[in-house]
């Protein structure tokens, strides 16, 4: 049987392709063309609004509300950025988002690695119901807990504080992080644990010196997902940290308001600064993100 691929690559081709082989070759070309068209279209559709936002952030206010809209700013300016960080205090929102997201991520990684090691390795009871329970909790809509949490935080005097967001963020991101890390831990051969123990290591040394370094992918995946979730969270941030001193970026963006019109230029300047680092971060760590999703797909 001749190989269509060889024919395609212009091989020695000693005999003309049979009808079936021609059709197969045509099919491949059609498939590839469709693939490329879809690829390019998809990239354009995804990037277009981003381009529009970034380009607008370099325009002056008059040009922004002008008809016809301009594909590229007539005179690119940085005024909007100055406004965002100078007048509207966007730098504060940025700082708050970083503090909250980084703290929550660190705590999640710590708590989740301990918990998932225990679930993956140690003879505790009720593992299956626990994992299912965690999955169930992660599906709860935030609105279910917003009023009690608000009242509790109010009583503690913790409204408009960092812990008001960090604690709930940790709680809501732990289930997924535990799931992901457990998958990684389970994948590490038990012999390593036992070898370490034979060498005289206690539980903690085993975990931190032997197992954890091998489970780093799981840590990264859990960390990236948690960070993105915290960075983009809006509902709790809006409700608990409304004061401008403690607002995070999403709340800052949502509540930007001008005197007469919505200051899109300034909003987009702040947005571009908010979007750029996390895009870069995720592109760097994309391997872990895709791995985290595939782990879920494999589990089914």
């Amino acid at each position: 049987m001749s190989d269509p691929a060889a024919i395609l690559s212009g091989g020695k081709g000693r005999k003309p392709p049979s009808p079936r082989e021609s059709m197969s070759r045509r099919n491949v070309i059609v498939k590839k063309t469709i693939g490329y068209v879809v690829l390019v279209l998809m990239l354009l559709v995804i990037i277009a609004p981003f381009y529009w936002m970034v380009v607008t952030s370099f325009k002056g206010n008059l040009e922004i509300s002008n008809i016809p809209p301009t594909l590229f700013p007539h005179h690119p300016i940085l005024t909007q950025y100055e406004q965002a960080f100078g007048v509207y205090g966007f730098g504060v929102y940025f700082r708050n988002s970083i503090i909250v997201s980084v703290s929550a991520t660190i705590v999640v990684i710590l708590f989740a690695s301990l918990a998932s090691y225990a679930i993956a390795r140690l003879p505790i009871r009720g593992k299956a119901p626990l994992m299912v329970g965690l999955l169930a909790i992660s599906t709860f809509p935030q609105v279910a807990v917003i009023s009690p949490l608000f009242i509790l935080l109010e009583r503690l005097g913790w409204l408009n504080s960092y812990q008001a967001l960090i604690i709930p963020y940790v709680a809501f991101n732990l289930p997924f992080a535990i799931w992901v890390m457990r998958t990684y831990f389970v994948g590490i051969p038990k012999e390593l644990d036992e070898a370490a123990r034979v060498d005289g290591a206690n539980l903690f040394t085993t975990i931190f010196r032997v197992i954890l370094p091998l489970a780093t992918p799981g840590l990264f995946t859990g960390g990236v997902f948690t960070f993105v979730a915290c960075w983009t969270e809006f509902f709790f941030a809006l409700t608990f940290n409304n004061d401008t001193a403690f607002r995070t970026i999403p709340v800052g963006i949502a509540l930007f308001s001008g005197q007469f019109t919505i200051p899109y230029g300034t909003i987009f300047a702040g947005s571009t600064v908010a979007v750029a680092p996390i895009v870069i971060l995720v592109l760097i760590f994309q391997k872990w993100v895709v791995a985290g999703l595939t782990a879920g797909a494999v589990k089914g």
């Binding site: 225990a118 909790i137 009023s147 709930p168 592109l283 879920g296 797909a297």
Partner: protein, 318 residues
């Protein structure tokens, strides 16, 4: 590490067996301690508050200078909520919105994933770009689209008029049905790439030989999809659908910034309704009742879907 029952299975004798189970118990204890921080935080923020929410929904709550005053009132709040026209409108809107957006995302995502499921150059770049909308803060996306949809100077109207698709500027966000549609487009734009990625990952797991075998048997493209691809993709499809629908009940960020729930209340989601009731109107009791109702619906849906999923997975495995 042998579990205590292994003891009996392996036929270990008395003292060895006791030593092993004692070690087991020590390890188990260590395990519980290690799990404690995580479980504590989770319980503190999700389980107890949900219980407290249910309690709150059964009380008439007044906000006073010294705090809150609770007066037990049974199902009064629920009576108020279920008699409220806005509640049903918000619920209807949320369900409709969830079904349509999830359906479109899945179909679109599947089509794109199928098209990309071949060795073409640039797919790595595509995957990277597909991650970007996922990282985007939803309210930023909302502002982006608000600017695009703007009735006066939005670029969408401009383009559509240039292409002679419309004759005059359309008030996308100011017209009842259109606002819903506009919001759905923004949502689908943001979420489909992520769905595509999940499905693409699932497709990549399907072994080539299955397709080869089907081709040799003379199966057409459609038959190959229906009998090879779809059954093996069903679990991931099912899971993705489940999570997306549950997520859709929390719809808040997009309507809050894009439409403000309007025009009127035509794009007010159930979560927005609860938020407004609690924090704008101070109706803690009824607002929390709305929230608890939402959770109830989510739980029922989740259980039903899990059952359906399990039977499907069972079918595939057999």
């Amino acid at each position: 590490m042998a579990a205590s029952t292994d003891c009996l299975i392996k036929g270990m004798e008395g003292e060895t067996c006791m030593r092993v189970s004692k070690l087991d118990r020590q390890y188990a204890m260590a395990g519980y301690i290690m799990m404690a921080p995580a479980l504590l935080v989770i319980a503190l923020v999700t389980i107890f508050p949900i219980g407290y929410s249910i309690w709150m929904s059964l009380n008439t709550i007044q906000s006073t200078f010294t705090g809150f005053s609770f007066t037990f009132s049974g199902l009064t709040n629920y009576a108020i909520v279920f008699a409220n026209q806005q509640f049903w409108q918000a619920l209807e809107f949320t369900v409709f919105y969830a079904i349509v957006t999830v359906a479109v995302e899945l179909v679109l995502g599947l089509l794109v994933a199928l098209a990309l499921n071949q060795p073409i150059r640039g797919r790595g770049v595509a995957v990277a770009v597909m991650l970007i909308p996922w990282t985007l803060i939803t309210v930023i996306s909302a502002q982006m689209w608000a600017y695009i949809y703007n009735g006066i100077y939005g670029v969408l109207n401009y383009l559509l008029m240039q292409l002679h698709i419309i004759g005059a500027p359309v008030l996308w966000l100011g017209t009842a049905g259109l606002a819903t549609f506009a919001m759905m487009v923004a949502d689908i734009w943001k979420t489909t790439p992520f769905v595509t990625m999940i499905l693409l990952a699932g497709l990549q797991l399907i072994p080539e030989d299955l397709y080869e075998a089907a081709k040799i048997d003379g199966a057409s493209v459609w038959k190959r999809f229906w009998h090879v691809t779809f059954p093996l993709l069903r679990p991931s499809l099912g899971l993705a659908t489940l999570f997306r629908i549950l997520q859709a009940f929390g719809l808040f960020d997009l309507p809050f910034v894009l439409t403000g729930g309007g025009p009127g209340t035509s794009t007010t989601s159930i979560a927005m309704l609860a938020y407004r009731a609690i924090f704008n109107d101070g109706d803690y009791g009824p607002g929390t009742a709305v929230a608890v109702t939402t959770v109830g619906i989510v739980i029922i849906l989740a259980l039903a879907s899990l059952k359906a999923l399990r039977t499907q997975v069972g079918e595939v495995e057999s």
